[in-house]
């Protein structure tokens, strides 16, 4: 699992895997219900979740347990229910604070340049196609250069800067 420990992301990955590989699509509540849960979970990992979403997920999974034809569908719904009750805090963190402590949910992550590591070489600014990085290149013997930093509103988390930074100064928070 590539989710690196974020319970919301793990749940989403599990459900996506279920819809892609296990679900047969022959009984409607399971097929449509899990797909709608994927929608809701995606919303949450993008930081667009709302407080009622947790209730909605709970409702859908309970209904699937009641109505689905086979055990596979019911089990998938039980997995979601368990995740909701066990990791309540993480869901709330994603929804209320738009933050993923495990740094898995890329859409609510921020790229940040650690000024302590940055050598102000300017390579990141060159590769950024969104003009999201501002700062001045370090010129020897001059000291009034502005330090580099990433404007989170413009940043698309594309990762290009991450790849070029030789001192690993760009971090995900």
């Amino acid at each position: 699992m590539s989710a690196n420990g974020c319970s919301v992301m793990i749940t989403l990955e599990f459900l996506k895997g279920f819809t892609k590989d296990k679900m047969c699509g022959k009984c409607l509540p399971c097929m449509l219900g899990t797909e709608r849960m994927v929608d809701v979970l995606e919303r949450i990992t993008k930081g667009e979740g709302e407080e009622e979403d947790v209730v909605l997920l709970e409702e859908i999974s309970s209904h699937i347990i009641d109505t689905a034809r086979c055990k596979l569908g019911k089990d998938a719904a039980v997995f979601i229910k368990d995740s909701l009750s066990s990791y309540k805090g993480e869901y709330e963190e994603h929804i209320k604070e738009k933050h993923c402590a495990q740094k898995s949910c890329e859409d609510i992550l921020n790229y940040w340049i650690n000024p302590e590591k940055c050598t102000s070489c300017g390579a990141c600014k060159v590769v950024c196609s969104e003009d999201a990085i501002v700062g001045d290149k370090m010129i020897p013997y001059l000291s009034d250069n502005k330090p580099y930093y990433i404007k989170s509103k413009k940043c698309t988390n594309c990762g290009k800067c991450l790849a070029v930074c030789e001192v690993d100064a760009i971090e995900i928070v």
């Binding site: 892609k20 022959k26 009984c27 409607l28 449509l32």
Partner: protein
Amino acid sequence: MSDQVTVTINGKEIKVPEGTLIIQAAKMAGIDIPHLCYCECLPSTGSCRVCLVEVEGGKGLVASCAQKVKNGMVVDTDTEKVREARRFVLELILSNHPGDCMSCDKNGACDLQKYAYELGIEKTSFSMKDPGYDVDRSNPFIERNYNLCILCGRCVRICKQQGADIIDFVKRGMVTKVATPMDRPLQESGCDFCGSCLAVCPVGALVEVDRRFCGREWEMKETKTVCSYCGCGCELVFSTVDGQIMRATGEVSCDYICSKGRFGWDFVESSERITKPLIKKDGVLTESTYEEAIKVVAERLIDIKKKHGANSIGGFMGAGNTNEVAYLFQKFLRAGIGTNNIDSSARFLGFPALIDLYEALRDGAVVSMKDVEEADVLLLVNADLTASYPRVGASVKKAILNGAKVVVIDSKKTEISELADLHIEPQVDSEEFVLSGILKELLEENLHDEKFTKKCKNFDEFKKSLDGLKVETIEKETKTSKDFLKEAAKLYGEGKKTIILFGAETVSSQSMGLIADIALLTGRTKASVLPCLLSSNLRGTIYMGALAGFYPGARRANEIGNDFKKIWERDLPDEMGLSAMEMVENMGSSVLGMYIVGADPVAQFPNSSKVAKAFSSLDFLVVQDVFLTETAKMADVVLPGATLAESNGTVVNLEYQTKEVKAALEPLAKPDWETIADLSERMDYTMEYSSEKEIAKEIKSLVPIPKKIEKNTYDFIVVKPKKSGEEPDGKYPYALIVGETSFGFYDGQRTRNSKLSILELNKGNYAGFNPEDAESLSLKEGDAVLISSRRGKITTSVKMLGSLPKGLLFMPSCHEERGVLASDNVDSKLKSPQHRLIAVSVSKGGASK
């Protein structure tokens, strides 16, 4: 009777047979459980989860369409828990159903809409998703919008059960979709366009193209009538809005209706219809008034009768009119004009199968579709069921699904032969030998009913004649090993409920006799032989006496005595009357005036160039028809006819059932019976009927259907097998057979004027070749080819037909020039053309049409 169990549904206690599904039991108790994937006539899949109910003591909710009742079961179909679950499922479905009820044609008839309304769902609480599929509008019959599909799978199941089995669920999960193999359009997937899928679709995913945006469900007026195509006589319900047909369906949504029934009605609305009487003036047919036309016809017929006698006039009609029209037409000719020269298409469509077979087998020749579906062994002789009589084909398919064994005797492959347990492919035209061989094997294997045959007087004579036929002769003539015949005899002889089906117009009267013998030899005299009929009222036409030599009630002209003289209050002619081919033979000499109703002899009769010449030598020709046929073009007066969709009356189908025809539309001119009655009135033979109901009353007092036969012994029909076709020779090396196709019908008059014609290559104007024959002639699909017989030649296009054996060519009966090649050699006893096979030669080239 199976055991009864008691169940309580919503507090109501009822007794139902063991094995009943909960949903069915509820229905018996008058409780309708909402359902989407369940359909009464189809196996349950339990996939939609809308029919969930609570069973006391059970764990969770139960799908009522998949669970059978148990004694003492207590079921609740409408608790809060059930409603909650149903609402959830429906909201989910709605979230994946981006349809707009506003412009959906199913609005008002949609199950999803109905249940959503009942549960008070205004809008789905889930996010909406649009699957984004392209709507398939590539054919003019069925519009497929899978964005609205709720994956209930009813169409998949019914296509398997009674269609061509060409759709299934493809892919999986959220991208599951109903599709044809490789997702090709229907017309490229072998769809037979029976439209069964349309009839069971609970939502707007499958809709008739004809009705799109043409009328709302609640504006439709429904008229239950009978299909005007083949002899199956299926009941059709026409839905009309403002005098226009929107669609045709069966009475129950699962009823099988073939492509012609469901989509072929549009010829009724063709712009080619004759709407006004036409009178030939200076060689040109000119519009005139009804009164004038009737006046001219009456005057001319009176004139001919005065000068040359009543027998110089003849009448001919098709076999697709109502009983009332057929009865009145022959009454007009016999009593009104005073001639027995009255014949009909029944002459060409196998009338012995309707008269002689019944006299030989009585109850044995009365077979219903239900009998076919319940049979365990079916023997098919020269019957391409799914093309010629699709309803029978559907019933046979159902029987096969129920486990019936099928033996097919046919030189070419058919849809059913591919499903059969045994397909005997004899040398063309050797069926009589095959059937004789089966009779011999039945005797040899001791599979005959000795107790029964002892009671038959001529059994010994029959057996002697069979013994005289050598097995070697049979093998030589049929080019079939006797092992196959033995296997067929065993399958048939050991069956419990067996039915022999044959095409009345494709089987010789000798073969028909042998078929009756097979049934008699095994003592099967109840529902054992079904002659399949091509025309919608073949039985009725004969029973009404529209056949030379027969009076109403299928009574032979020499046996009627004075009965009809009294009823019709006229002296009746002594002569037996001329048959159709005899009339043609005598045209210009002793036959000078002809009255044709609903038939096109010039195109239909064999050796058509000779027939056309004969008709042109008439003094006077009047044609009453719906289209300007080849015959009508030669007429002096043309009277507009009515289609069955515009007529009231009755017809008799191949099951011997008299069915009521009701007009869904107003006739463009007058009902056919009224035109005949008006003409009769003008010729001083008064026919006072206020409606067709009064004619029906008169018929009922005269004609029992089927007729009564006071006899309780049976006689074998002794037959010496022979080949009756034109043998191919050096000059004409190929044999050609004319037959029905899936989307053409009979003379093609109707299907040519219907959208159905686009489904046939070149509107059915082609000749089918075995691919090997085509290769040896270096012919490719679509090539122009010149086909000649001893009568004439035609140019047509080539179609590859892998179903044909080498040396046999096939021509659709709806081919416009089918009559040119056929032989007019007449069987002396039956007075109908003798040869089913035509010897032809083939050469490449000629201007393709």
